[in-house]
């Protein structure tokens, strides 16, 4: 099974909240110093899902990422987990694209790669969390899409997906090629180990520009974007703490209960 995984490099979500800074003027996040960006957590699980399919069914995993030249690191990370090759899609025209623009760039790269059975994406990016790219990409590629997968199985010429729904899960099948977006319930990604970790490090990741994949300037024009950021702010959280007392533990519990009753 030949699988293409789309991954994104994001600001490390594990940075201390107090260190998260934005610039409201340019409506952009200011990355804190000395913190390397990481692979988006859901995308890492998509790579894990691809590796599990490869472990069972053999085949090839190709990873692509729209981003800066630093995005080679996340491709290397995916290769160290078990992917075979990868490409960075980097061009000034690709900067600050919305979900539609990103999906368009990915679709052009996928068309350039050629034959594939399955495209995997994370359910959403760990930074903006829009969760749109996967579905739009499937639309452009004109293939079925199944979102929020927690288990993926290849069955003959179909893909069978267990997907999360609000009250449990459902099992859906679609013919190959299809696109599946992967949720964190699929399980912990493997720790890159062994040979791959050392080899991935030395690998040179090819960079594709707009002209390499035949992306049209009109499609990338910011003026044609479907979404616009009108404002960016860090939400403020207010925590009030009150210690409920009482002469006895029983009385304290009663006081707490009446306090809670009043709140509701």
């Amino acid at each position: 099974m030949n699988i293409i995984v789309c991954v994104k490099q994001v600001l490390d979500p594990e940075i201390p909240p107090a260190k998260f800074k934005i610039d409201p003027e340019t409506k952009q996040v200011i990355p804190p110093p000395g913190v390397p960006p990481v692979i988006s957590v859901y995308d890492e699980r998509a790579v894990e899902a691809a590796c599990r399919l490869k472990d069972k069914l053999k085949g090839k995993i190709t990873v692509i990422s729209v981003g800066s030249d630093k995005a080679a690191d996340v491709i290397k990370h995916a290769i160290s987990m078990g992917a075979d090759e990868g490409f960075v899609l980097c061009d000034p025209a690709f900067e600050n694209l919305d979900s539609f623009g990103t999906a368009y760039v990915l679709s052009k790269a996928i068309q350039k790669i050629g034959a594939y059975d399955l495209v995997l994406c994370g359910r959403q990016a760990a930074d903006w969390g829009a969760g749109q790219v996967g579905s739009i990409l499937a639309e452009i590629l004109a293939i079925p899409v199944i979102t929020l997968a927690c288990d993926i199985e290849g069955v003959d010429t179909n893909v069978r997906v267990k997907r999360i729904v609000s009250d449990g899960y459902e099992i859906v099948e679609a013919p190959l090629p299809s696109l599946v977006t992967v949720s964190s319930e699929i399980g912990l990604p493997r720790l890159p180990a062994g040979v791959r970790l050392m080899m991935a490090r030395k690998k040179v990741i090819p960079v594709w520009k707009a002209q390499d994949i035949g992306a049209e300037a009109s499609q990338l024009d910011k003026g044609n974007a479907h979404t616009e950021i009108t404002g960016l702010s860090v939400p403020t959280r207010k925590i009030e703490c009150e210690i409920i007392t009482g002469a006895t533990p029983g009385e304290a519990a009663a006081n707490l209960a009446s306090k809670l009753a009043n709140l509701i």
């Binding site: 940075i15 000395g34 062994g194 040979v195 050392m198």
Partner: protein, 687 residues
């Protein structure tokens, strides 16, 4: 007449002598050859460097019995017994060669016996015999009457004690009956002559006396041969293997981990079988296997292991013993050439069946086991090699370990996430430091802070104290600030060898780029890694000092003056990676002793035999298993036992572990934990 020159049932004595000898020697050689071949199943490792130094080690450690005497404490005097046995039995060993081999076997008795040489030698043997008998009685009491925790009852020990004791009894018998039978009256040798004089006075006929003496001689000879055959088949193999083990012990650093060469990796990858670290007994090196032969199950490691003491199932003694049993079980199959079949479907898996995964993860790599081991067994690296297999080949590890290793791999330090509220370079703000990469001038000394000292609030306080102390003393140094990554130690101890190799290579490159000549470390784990492990990766162009060494030197040279009086009772907790791994324990004490008015109380387990805080070997992040208690609580009880008001240490992990212990034990009003740098800052004249 010599027993060998007599004729028995028509057969000349010397024929019987040599036939028996050849049988015993054959059985001995057969077993030794078998054990040697088993050992050769292990991987290659070069331990043949500095042979002069190595031979000197063996002579200076074994002959004066420093191997066992060094671990003698008030509570455990057994090393003295072993020394008596060793010296006494060595005399007998020489006598067997001289009097049995040369005199009887080769007929040289006219020159060797019946003269002053024999009298003097026999007198020495009499004293030696008493020593050996005393040691045997002592050993029997310690096994069958008051048995300390570290010893276990074994048939093998009983057999050996009976054999050795009977050899001594027979020695006195041969001598006493022989002297009495010869009719001489003499006062030498001292014990033999007393027995002889008594026997003469009983009026037993000379012929009977001589017959008994000769009978005892033959029995004695049989026991010696039996002993020779039995030794390599029992735990007393250590008599033969421990000398070799001490000869091949690691010289440069106490825990030697071999790099995994990339070529080997690529070969494995192309074959499609990635088997890293040790999952099978033959994955260890020959030296690891020699270790197994050298173990005599004395149990010193067992009672000093923090995991065992705090009630976990890990016991370093059991690990070594179980691996030896496993080698002896699997070995014949492997030697028979069906190595492939055995390794693919072994009756028992080494990891899992022989050594429990839980035990592999319980080790803090503190090295207490190795420090007390009289025969220099390397326990820690075997555990790490098994971890390597779990992490690199099987992707099996506790979730807490995986989280830490993942952080190391993606974020460059083990602390990322909710555990840290800081960014790497935050601590340098407003300190007026020379940050490499930003500072334009030249600095050739680097202060390597370490992840914990840069990221965890409590440890940052200690880092800031040390920075101010260094500046006050006029030390010219730079820091890497936000660009400082992890040294790789937690990854390596947790078995994630490649991440360590990557860290090492990248850091060495950085040191090279900035032309670093000297590195000051505050964390003993970084210290050990940079000093002892980076040279294997090309990092041999810089000097590494721990800050305690540097401060002690600054005080000696008068650059740093401790003038403020601190009226307090202190104790010092030695970090394993400083005091045990690197023998830096004088300097911290020198600093503490220089503080006016401070009183110092030593803990019983201190210096190189310190007790782990529980944070080493990746255990700062790997969740501690359930035992009867926690490792740092055991240590905290010892700290509280000194009555000290302040416990001082010089390791960021230890500091955290001690503070947690103080909190848990509810003694924070009477006891504080401090880093030595903080104490020095308090004692400094801050004018």
């Amino acid at each position: 007449m010599s027993p060998v020159s007599a004729t028995y049932w028509g057969i000349p004595g010397y024929v019987i002598f040599w036939v028996l000898f050849v049988i015993a020697a054959g059985l001995f050689a057969k077993r030794i050859y078998f054990l040697f071949r088993l050992m050769r199943l292990g991987k290659q490792e070069n331990r043949f460097d500095h042979m002069g130094q190595r031979i000197k080690n063996v002579l200076f450690v074994i002959l004066p019995q420093w191997c066992t005497l060094r671990s003698v404490t008030k509570k455990d005097l057994a090393g003295i017994g072993h020394a008596l046995l060793f010296w006494g039995f060595s005399c007998f060993l020489v006598s067997y060669i001289v009097f049995i081999g040369l005199a009887e076997g080769f007929g040289l008795y006219p020159w060797l016996m019946g003269n002053n040489f024999e009298t003097v030698f026999s007198s020495i043997l009499d004293i030696a015999g008493l020593c050996v008998m005393a040691a045997m009685i002592w050993a029997a009491i310690r096994r069958y009457i008051v048995r300390p925790e570290r010893l276990e009852l074994s048939v093998e020990a009983g057999v050996i004690m009976v054999l050795v004791f009977s050899l001594m009894v027979l020695h006195f018998g041969i001598e006493g009956f022989g002297l009495a039978g010869s009719g001489e009256t003499t006062n030498w040798p001292p014990i033999g002559s007393v027995i002889a004089n008594y026997l003469s006075s009983t009026g037993i006929s000379k012929n009977t006396l001589i017959t008994v003496s000769q009978g005892a001689w033959w029995l004695h000879y049989l026991v010696i041969l039996g002993f020779t055959v039995y030794i390599p088949r029992s735990k007393h193999l250590h008599i033969l293997a421990s000398g070799a083990n001490i000869l091949f012990k690691p010289l440069a650093s106490k825990v030697v981990l071999e790099p995994i060469p990339l070529e080997a990796l690529e070969a494995m990858e192309s074959e499609g079988s990635v088997d890293l670290g040790a999952s099978k007994i033959q994955d260890f090196t020959w030296k690891d296997l020699l270790d197994l032969y050298a173990c005599t199950v004395c149990g010193r490691c067992h009672v000093s292991c923090p995991a065992h003491v705090s009630g976990k199932t890990l016991s370093p003694k059991e690990v070594i013993h179980d691996l030896k049993e496993h080698l002896l079980e699997e070995g014949p199959g492997l030697l028979a050439g069906n190595a492939q079949a055995t390794s693919e479907s072994p009756a028992k898996t080494m990891i899992g069946d022989v050594i429990a995964e839980e035990d592999i993860w319980a080790c803090t790599t503190c090295g207490a086991c190795q420090e007390v081991c009289p025969v220099d067994i390397e326990h820690v690296r075997k555990i790490i090699k098994m971890r390597q297999n779990l992490v690199l080949a099987q992707n099996k590890m506790p979730e807490s370990a995986q989280l830490m290793l993942r952080n190391m791999q993606t974020r460059g330090n083990p602390w990322a996430g909710a555990q840290s509220l800081r960014l790497r370079g935050d601590w340098t703000h407003d300190m007026g430091l020379k940050i490499l990469g930003q500072y334009e001038g030249r600095v050739d000394t680097l202060f390597w802070v370490g992840c914990t000292g840069a990221l965890i609030d409590r440890n940052v306080e200690a880092t800031l104290s040390l920075t101010r102390v260094l500046k006050a003393a006029g030390v010219d140094f730079g820091v890497l600030g936000e660009a400082e990554p992890c040294c790789g130690d937690p990854a390596r101890r947790a078995g994630y060898e490649f991440q360590f190799q990557i860290s090492a290579e990248e850091n060495i490159e950085t040191f090279k780029n900035y032309n670093i000549k000297k590195i000051i470390t505050s964390c003993p784990h970084c210290y050990n890694t940079l000093k002892n492990e980076y040279p294997r990766y090309g990092g041999d162009f810089f000097e590494v000092v721990h800050y305690t060494e540097l401060l002690a030197d600054l005080i000696t040279r008068g650059k740093l003056k401790l003038t403020n009086k601190l009226n307090t009772l202190l104790t010092y907790h030695d970090p394993c990676y400083l005091s045990r791994y690197n023998e830096v324990f004088r300097e911290p004490r020198q600093i503490i002793e220089g503080i006016p008015n401070a009183k110092f109380k030593e803990m019983e387990r201190s210096k190189n035999t310190t007790f782990c805080c529980g944070g080493g070997g990746g255990h700062m992040w790997i969740e501690e298993q359930h035992g009867t208690t926690k490792i740092n609580h055991v240590r905290m009880d010892e700290v509280i036992g000194t009555g000290a008001e302040t416990v001082v240490t010089s390791c960021p992990y230890c500091l955290q572990m001690l503070e947690e212990g103080i909190e848990q034990k509810g003694v924070k009003d009477s006891l504080k934990a401090k880093d030595l740098a903080e104490l020095v800052e308090e004692a400094m004249n801050q004018s």
